[in-house]
């Protein structure tokens, strides 16, 4: 693990830093994070007994999240970015190696990953599936409320179809409770601090890069 820097250590030069997350990607992450927390709060606090006018906050925040997701989708649809996130054979092999080392109780430690580890890709894809499900079903549910732009139309879909939409939206919301808890837990773990810092400040150090990443799998300047 990387040693913490002493207080009297000179500040890092820009050349010692490697950009892991561009500012626009960090902005997307934190906008999405705030939106998800507001959406969970406005969805579940009234259920838990805290009464307030949650509907307007909920659907306005939902629209902000959908806009952010569309922006991220367009930005992510380049070959280089898709390839960085794709779970390939080596990622699966890395995960199996950790399982094998655990079962054998040897000191096999995790191999160096590319820009993202198997676990990071997996949690990204899990969040993508769940948040997109919530966003698509939430967008459909906007038809059922009055907004400045349209009048509600509860008969746009059949009762049976609305039922499926509500089940999927609710299931996604419930799954997000578990997933957000775990995401925050992993972000706070000491060995993950470099990744959390990179999502705040954007960079990791060259020493952290050498320690955690395979330069063949994540090539940086």
């Amino acid at each position: 693990m990387t040693e913490p820097r002493a207080a009297n250590t000179p500040p890092l030069e820009a050349a010692d830093r490697i950009v892991r997350h561009a500012g626009v990607d960090r902005a997307f992450h934190w906008i999405a994070a705030v939106c998800v927390l507001v959406l969970l709060g406005t969805a579940f606090l009234p259920v838990l007994g805290l009464s307030f006018g949650w509907v307007t906050i909920h659907w306005v925040t939902g629209i902000v999240l959908i806009a952010a997701l569309l922006f991220h989708l367009v930005r992510a649809l380049s070959w280089r970015r898709l390839r960085a996130m794709w779970i390939d054979g080596r990622d699966v092999s890395d995960a199996l190696a950790v399982v094998g080392s655990t079962l054998r109780r040897d000191a096999g430690g995790p191999r160096k990953s590319g820009k993202y580890s198997f676990a990071q890709k997996f949690i990204h894809h899990a969040f993508a599936a769940v948040v997109l499900t919530a966003a698509v079903t939430g967008a459909l549910m906007l038809v059922r409320i009055d907004t400045p732009w349209w009048q509600r139309d509860p008969y746009w879909l059949s009762n049976a179809t609305w039922g499926v939409v509500y089940v999927l939206h609710g299931l996604a919301a419930l799954l997000l409770i578990t997933m957000v808890l775990m995401h925050v837990y992993f972000a706070l773990r000491p060995e993950k601090h470099l990744f959390t810092r990179s999502m705040i400040k954007g960079w990791i150090t060259r020493a952290e890069y050498s320690e955690h990443h395979d330069p063949q799998r994540w090539q940086v300047k």
Binding site: M1, F44, V47, L48, V98, S101, T102, R105, D106, A107, G108, G109, P110, N159, A160, G163, V164, Y166, V167, H169, G170, L171, A173, L174, L175, I177, T178, M179, V180, L181, M182, Y185, R189
Partner: protein, 45 residues
């Protein structure tokens, strides 16, 4: 589940009684991982 005006069973959505289930599931997974890291995870190469 509920019944519509024609008496047919229709889906209403997820039961919010499940909120504590998903909350405690998250807590249980966190504790499980913390124990794994403390006692079972392979040490670094």
């Amino acid at each position: 589940m509920s019944r519509d005006v024609y008496g047919r069973e229709t889906l209403q959505g997820m039961s919010w009684d499940l909120i504590p289930v998903f909350f405690w599931l998250g807590c249980a997974l966190i504790v499980a991982h913390a124990l794994y890291r403390a006692f079972l995870a392979p040490k670094k190469r």
